[in-house]
């Protein structure tokens, strides 16, 4: 009887976390809309709707069985496909399935919510200039194939897992996988019209709704309770509570260090840096949220916040255009978080650090190569970028024939 109660409690926690990860898609949507111009808001929302709907369906069709194919015990699994569709195995609804932590259905849905995130990360970076069709094709291939294959190497007990690589909730497997693709995509796309002046100096293209972006960041933070809290894969009292503590402390430290550091550099209290710093701290703690002490988590967050400020400037310096800071947040802080497992916390050590480094390298290489192949093929065939006049008019009109705020009257101070 007691084990049934525990099984139920565990499963309820996992379903709550699933819902929280789902909620992150609203957070991403708000953040992306807020940090871009109003003429592209409908387009960005459309992409986010597509990512979550297509992501869930693709994960049902094949993603789940690609990511958790059941590699042979002790084998260095690289690729295996357990078949189309999802059918719960015998005993999948009983406490025996996963030592009483969750049912097979919960397992599927929790993982499915993660899958779409990788493409959402790309969506923000390529905003305001990518062709909708091209983005949708890319999403289908990247979420349907690339993400689950990489995921299987670690979370599906494949070769990275066998090597001892550690990525608790996906600094590498989710955030860097999305971040690498975002990097390739913005390199192939080029900057938005007006982002760089004739001398190559970056111009500011302010986002149109900072309050909405702020709501997005706080929603993402809330969603991270599920993203990391659920990655404990049970309601284990000690681990879930520790994970939420480290997650929140890293987020707070990331925000504070980012805003202080940008204040030193730019003599300004930049709210958007505050936001990105919080997200950087969250991404940074994600790889080792269950391995860190509170003080480790704060240090990881503090460093992540500084990385954010430097990362945003670096992206500008490289003449790349990333409207929402996805490269700094998800790619660079994703790498930092993964490496931090070898530097701080219970697993720290040179050997672990090297394993983490190898993992980052392998996942990076595979993500970059697949993103390059997919995106370059799209660019060479149907094209990646909208026409300049469509871009100037805004994608809401040119791709959707819609306005985000048709009745909105501007009343500036």
């Amino acid at each position: 009887m007691e084990s049934t109660a525990l099984f139920t409690a565990n499963n309820v926690w996992m379903m709550i976390c699933t819902a929280l990860v789902f909620f992150m898609h609203l957070g991403f949507s708000f953040l992306e809309i807020g940090l871009t111009r109003q003429k592209n808001a409908v387009n960005i929302l459309f992409k986010n709707f597509f990512v979550i709907t297509a992501g869930l369906l693709l994960y049902c069709i094949g993603g789940f069985n690609l990511m958790y194919p059941g590699f042979e015990e002790g084998s260095m699994g690289f690729f295996k496909f357990a078949g189309f569709g999802i059918t719960a195995p015998e005993g999948g609804m009983s406490a025996e399935y996963a030592s009483g932590r969750y049912t097979w259905w919960t397992d599927f849905l929790f993982q499915a919510m993660f899958a779409a995130t990788a493409a959402t990360i790309v969506s923000g970076a390529v905003a305001e200039r990518i062709k909708l069709k091209s983005f949708m094709i890319f999403t289908v291939i990247y979420v349907g194939l690339v993400y689950p294959i990489i995921g299987s190497w670690k979370w599906g007990s494949g070769f990275l897992d066998q090597m001892g690589f550690y990525d608790f909730a996906g600094s590498t497997l989710v955030h860097s996988v999305g971040g690498w693709a975002a990097l390739i995509a913005i390199y192939l796309l080029g900057a938005r019209i007006g982002k760089f002046n004739k001398e190559g100096k970056p111009n500011a293209i302010p986002g149109h709704n900072i309050p909405l972006a702020s709501a997005g960041v706080l929603i993402l933070w809330l969603g991270w309770f599920g993203f990391n809290g659920g990655s404990v894969l049970s309601a284990d009292p000690e681990l879930t509570s520790l994970t939420l503590v480290t997650t929140c402390l890293a987020a707070a430290a990331g925000g504070v260090s980012s805003v202080l550091f940008s204040n030193i550099l730019y003599k300004n209290f930049d709210l958007t840096m505050f936001m990105n710093g919080i997200l950087g701290g969250l991404v940074g703690i994600t790889a080792g949220a269950d391995q860190m002490s509170p003080i480790d988590a704060i240090l990881i967050g503090l460093i992540a916040g500084i990385i954010i400020v430097l990362g945003v400037a670096l992206v500008d310096k490289l003449k790349l255009d990333d409207p929402v800071g996805a490269i700094a947040v998800h790619l660079i802080c994703g790498i930092w978080g993964t490496l931090s497992v070898g530097i701080f916390g219970a697993m720290a050590g040179l050997n672990q650090f090297l394993i983490q480094l190898i993992g980052v390298g392998i996942v990076g290489a595979f993500s970059v190569i697949s993103a390059l192949i997919i995106l370059y093929t799209i660019k060479a065939t149907i094209g990646l970028r909208v026409d300049p006049d469509e871009e100037l008019k805004g994608l809401d009109l040119s791709e959707h024939g819609m306005d985000a705020y048709p009745d909105f009257r501007l009343n500036q101070h």
């Binding site: 500011a204 302010p206 400037a313 501007l410 009343n411």
Partner: protein, 112 residues
């Protein structure tokens, strides 16, 4: 009959409105306008400093009978001034005719 147009600071609008009421100018239209000029507004966004020369002002349009022209102008001059660059301008233009749509009255009567 004259049309008095004034470009004023938005922050001065309430004072201007009150000053106009005090000289019994109770009807006028206004709208928000954006202009360019020498004034620069410093901004920082994600580590990039930039300034805009876009200036936000309020545009007031008043039609008055001739004996109201000078009091109206004086009211605006007094209430809209901060004595810093950017206080705005006043223009006075002739108006040929005015009609009240409800009654068909024309001329000075239609303005009261």
């Amino acid at each position: 009959m004259k049309k008095i147009e004034a470009i004023i600071r938005k922050s001065k609008f309430d004072q201007v409105k009150e000053a106009l009421h005090n000289v019994e100018v109770n009807f006028f239209s206004y709208w928000d306008v954006t202009g360019v000029g020498n004034e620069k507004e410093g901004h920082v966004y994600r580590g990039i400093s930039y300034s805009t020369s876009e200036i936000q002002r309020r545009y007031i349009s008043i039609i008055v009978n001739d004996d109201f022209v000078q009091p109206t102008i004086n009211a605006i001059l007094k209430s809209a001034a901060t004595e810093k660059v950017g206080d705005g301008k006043i223009f006075v233009l002739p108006v040929e005719e005015a009609y009240r749509i409800r009654t068909g009255e024309k001329g000075g009567k239609s303005l009261n």
